[in-house]
């Protein structure tokens, strides 16, 4: 009966009673709702269907448009432009955070659609940071129109205030790229000259030509040392000043001394130059740093992440009527109006009306909370079904949401510090090499001054720690790109090493182990005239009218029944007429009669009634993900301890823990409690991996040694996590743990190889058996071995 047809636009299953189709690419494509139909039609009519061919398959529902019509005109107002844009005459520029982007085709679509608007001067979208910088002519179009266009395409645009728009990442990326290019071009040129010099050493070379080639090498190497290698020198000086010398110190000493010695040899006609080693060393290190930087920049922008949980504007009720204002302009004491489906813009209390509020992202509580006048509400929680007015008490960073943001910032800062294994090893090795080279130089100078330089050069070249420098970054880069293919996005450089050492995996419940959305788990009929299936269909037809999260549990079921005269009763349920019969669906107070037996299972109970009697009882609960049990069992088999920390109540937590076999479960935790729990584990010596998705998980994600968040997680949680799991499954966690172990095995092999090679080559070179050209070949070969070994990681499954 279930046709597995999914929406052409957003990939959600198409409800059976929905028969909307859009013609795209000459075929009728099914879509799941009028919103997706509108977006797909818009994309087609604008001639942009290529988007569908080039994009990755989206997470179901990820690109489903929100129903927020009519909100955008307000951004055309002058005071809005002052808040969100910078002006230069007619030319206006604004930065917009585009929520809901998920692949590179999205940025193409946005770019192409915006360019069809009149008056757009430039649109520059960054698919990594999801930021759009758009410039337009204010006489031809307005910010509201631009935002409406983005919203029509199904994205969730959010204009950002100008002060938060400057990101240092862009400048960092640009200068890193320039340094990399100078180093690589310089390295190639110098290598070319070095080949000439080495072969000259072998078969004789004209003295003038040798001096000329050295001079040219000097000219090319100088910018490589002073421009490309500058961050290493700066880092070394910083480290020495702070009395904590890092890897940069030996690196700088190696680069600096080899360069100075070469320059000296160039101008005094010394026996040898080292320019090739210098440039190659700088090049490999720059590549390593660049790869690491790219991974770091993939993490999500924190300021935008926090802001994206709040609405862009709020409706302020003033003496002179309603007014849409940017959220930043709300102040304590203001009265704001919040409609169903909107999120609360600030902390405060309800003054008029009643509703239920979804606080699951902030607290982990899985059931919607009923709220009436006098109850406190939190910024970022979602108003589900009633229109309410609230008095604003606290705004901005002082809200609960802002506090959680600060807490996660601090947790990340105080995360246990550790030095990468490779860095530790490499810095010792470099120091050892320099010491050995010095000893060799002095002893040869005493024995045979003529050969001292050549032999020292050979020692330095043969032991060039290129293979060492490459051992870790190439393995991490190969693992990172392979994991990305497996829908795991690594955003932190050292996450993989930490994961490989992990001993304890801690899970959040709501939304992580469970689906985070309610499902009908049990149906009991009290009237023999109706089957379970009929009851579900009637319920689905009634719930079409409701925006309550519980309603989604029903509307996912197929129904070919249509109800009329639907009415939503806030805090109670829905009623409507089907085939002339009046039905109610809702909570016990709304539907039940005296004879109803309350079911004894956990979860929310929903009753279906007609003519004053109850026909069916549904139990709605947040169910565990299908692969949760298997994933946890596998993790335990792999030797990890597993725990559960949740903000939810005792009963649902205990039930989840019992069915997953987790012995160590904690319920009712605040973000602080969770962080304390992790810290206690860390004191015990555990290396803790946290898996979570809520805003209330953000601090603990930041404080854990390594953290994993699913891609549907709150953006604040995503920005605190080291690894994002794309898609709707827990199993990738196992893949990730295995991948991390395997990556570190490769890293250790690489380091071992590099060390063994260096140890065995040094005595030969020191004894003068290795001419420089052979040393250079040896060095390149050992680097190649390391790179090829790292490439084996592209077969992780």
């Amino acid at each position: 009966m279930a046709r597995a047809e999914s929406c052409f636009h957003c990939a959600l299953p198409v409800p059976a009673n929905c028969d909307i189709r859009v013609e795209i690419g000459g075929r009728q494509r099914p879509v799941c709702c009028p919103g997706c139909q509108a977006v797909a039609t818009l994309i087609r009519d604008a001639g942009l269907e290529n988007y569908y061919e080039s994009r990755d398959t989206p997470d179901p529902g990820a690109v489903r448009p929100a129903d927020e019509a009519g909100e955008w005109q307000v951004f055309d107002r002058e005071d809005m432009l002052d808040a969100f844009a910078t002006r230069d005459g007619d030319q206006v520029e604004a930065t917009v955070y585009v929520g809901g982007m998920y692949c590179a085709a999205c940025s193409w679509l946005i770019d192409a659609a915006l360019r069809q608007l009149p008056g757009i001067l430039g649109a520059d979208i960054n698919p990594v940071t999801h930021r759009l910088r758009v410039t337009w002519n204010s006489s031809a179009t307005g910010l509201g129109r631009i935002l409406a266009t983005l919203a029509d395409l199904g994205y969730k645009p959010q204009p950002l205030a100008p002060d938060s728009t400057e990101r240092p990442e862009r400048a960092e990326q640009r200068s890193a790229l320039k340094r990399l290019l100078v180093a690589s071009l310089g390295m190639m040129q110098v290598m070319m000259f070095a080949v000439a010099l080495y072969s000259g050493e072998f078969q004789g070379i004209d003295g003038d030509m040798e001096r000329f080639l050295r001079l040219v090498s000097f000219l090319v190497t100088t910018p490589v040392v002073f421009y490309s290698a500058r961050p290493f020198f700066a880092g070394a000086i910083r480290g020495l000043r702070a009395r904590r010398p890092g890897m940069d110190v030996p690196v700088s000493v190696a680069i600096g001394s080899a360069y100075v010695a070469s320059v000296y040899a160039t101008f005094t006609n010394g026996p040898a130059v080292w320019y090739d080693s210098v440039t190659m060393f700088v090049f490999f290190l720059t590549v390593a740093r660049y790869l690491e930087m790219r991974a770091r920049h993939r993490s999500i922008d924190r300021s935008a992440a926090l802001a994206s949980l709040l609405p862009n504007t709020a409706t302020r009720l003033a003496a002179d009527g309603r007014q849409q204002v940017p959220v930043a302009q709300l102040a304590a004491g203001d009265i704001a109006l919040i409609r169903p489906g909107e999120s609360f813009p600030a902390d405060g209390s309800i003054t008029t009306g009643r509703t239920s509020v979804d606080e699951s992202m902030l607290t982990g509580e899985s059931k919607p909370q009923p709220k009436a006048a006098g109850n406190a509400v939190m910024a970022g929680s979602v108003n589900i079904d009633g229109i309410v007015e609230m008095r604003v008490d606290v705004t901005g960073t002082d809200t609960t949401l802002g506090t959680i943001g600060r807490l996660s910032e601090r947790a990340r800062y105080t995360r246990p510090a550790f030095v990468l294994l490779a860095d530790r090893v490499a810095s010792y090795i470099v120091v050892a090499i320099l010491a050995i080279a010095a000893v060799v130089a002095v002893s040869w100078y005493l024995v045979d001054p003529d050969r001292a330089f050549v032999v020292t050069l050979s020692v330095l070249v043969v032991t060039c720690p290129c293979a060492l420098a490459l051992a870790t970054p190439t393995a991490f880069a190969a693992a990172g790109s392979r994991l990305a293919d497996l829908h795991l996005l690594v955003t932190s450089g050292n996450a993989i090493e930490t994961l490989s050492r992990a001993t304890h995996v801690v899970f959040d419940k709501t939304g992580t182990l469970t689906r985070g959305m309610p499902e009908v788990v049990r149906t009991v009929t009290h009237d023999p005239g109706f089957t379970e299936r009929e009851c579900l269909q009637i319920a689905a037809a009634l719930e079409v009218a409701s925006t309550h999260p519980i309603a989604r549990a029903f509307t996912r079921h197929e129904s070919d029944i249509a109800a009329t005269g639907l009415e939503v009763r806030v805090g109670a349920g829905v009623e409507g007429v089907i085939d002339g019969r009046h039905w109610q669906l809702g909570n016990a107070a709304f539907v039940t009669d005296a004879r109803t037996r309350m079911p004894d299972d956990d979860g929310t109970h929903v009753f279906l009634g007609t003519d004053g009697r109850v026909v069916a009882t549904f139990t709605v609960a947040d169910t565990l993900r299908e692969d949760a049990g298997e994933t946890l069992a596998m993790l335990r088999r792999m030797g990890y301890e597993t725990s559960l920390v949740s903000g939810d109540g005792e009963a649902p937590v205990a039930r989840a823990a019992a069915s997953l076999g987790i012995g160590d479960a904690h319920f009712g935790c605040t973000p602080d409690d969770k962080l304390d729990y992790i810290h206690a584990l860390q004191e015990r010596g555990d290396v803790v991996v946290m898996v979570g998705d809520g805003i209330n998980d953000a601090p603990v994600l930041a404080g854990a040694d390594a953290s994993i968040a699913p891609s549907h997680a709150a953006s604040l949680a995503q920005s605190s996590a080291d690894i994002l799991v794309l898609g709707d499954s827990l199993h990738p966690v196992v893949t990730l743990m295995l991948g991390a172990r395997r990556t570190m095995r490769i890293v250790r092999q690489n380091l071992a190889w590099a060390i063994i090679y260096n140890l065995s080559a040094v005595p030969l070179a020191a004894a003068g058996f290795v001419p420089p050209w052979l040393a250079a070949i040896g060095m390149s070969t050992s680097s190649l071995v390391v790179v090829l070994n790292a490439l084996r990681l592209s077969r992780i499954r």
Partner: protein, 55 residues
Amino acid sequence: MSILYLLIPLALLLLAGAVWAFFWAVGSGQFDDLDTPAVRVIMDDDERPPEDRTE
């Protein structure tokens, strides 16, 4: 071999030119987005006549 005294400086000039061109390209933002261009080439937007643009 003395031709090298001319050719190598010439090569260095070309190198300097290449570096300058690259710096200019980076500065003008061409390398800010390294992900989109990979898919941009396979998306031609010239297949449809412009009258479909209803805006």
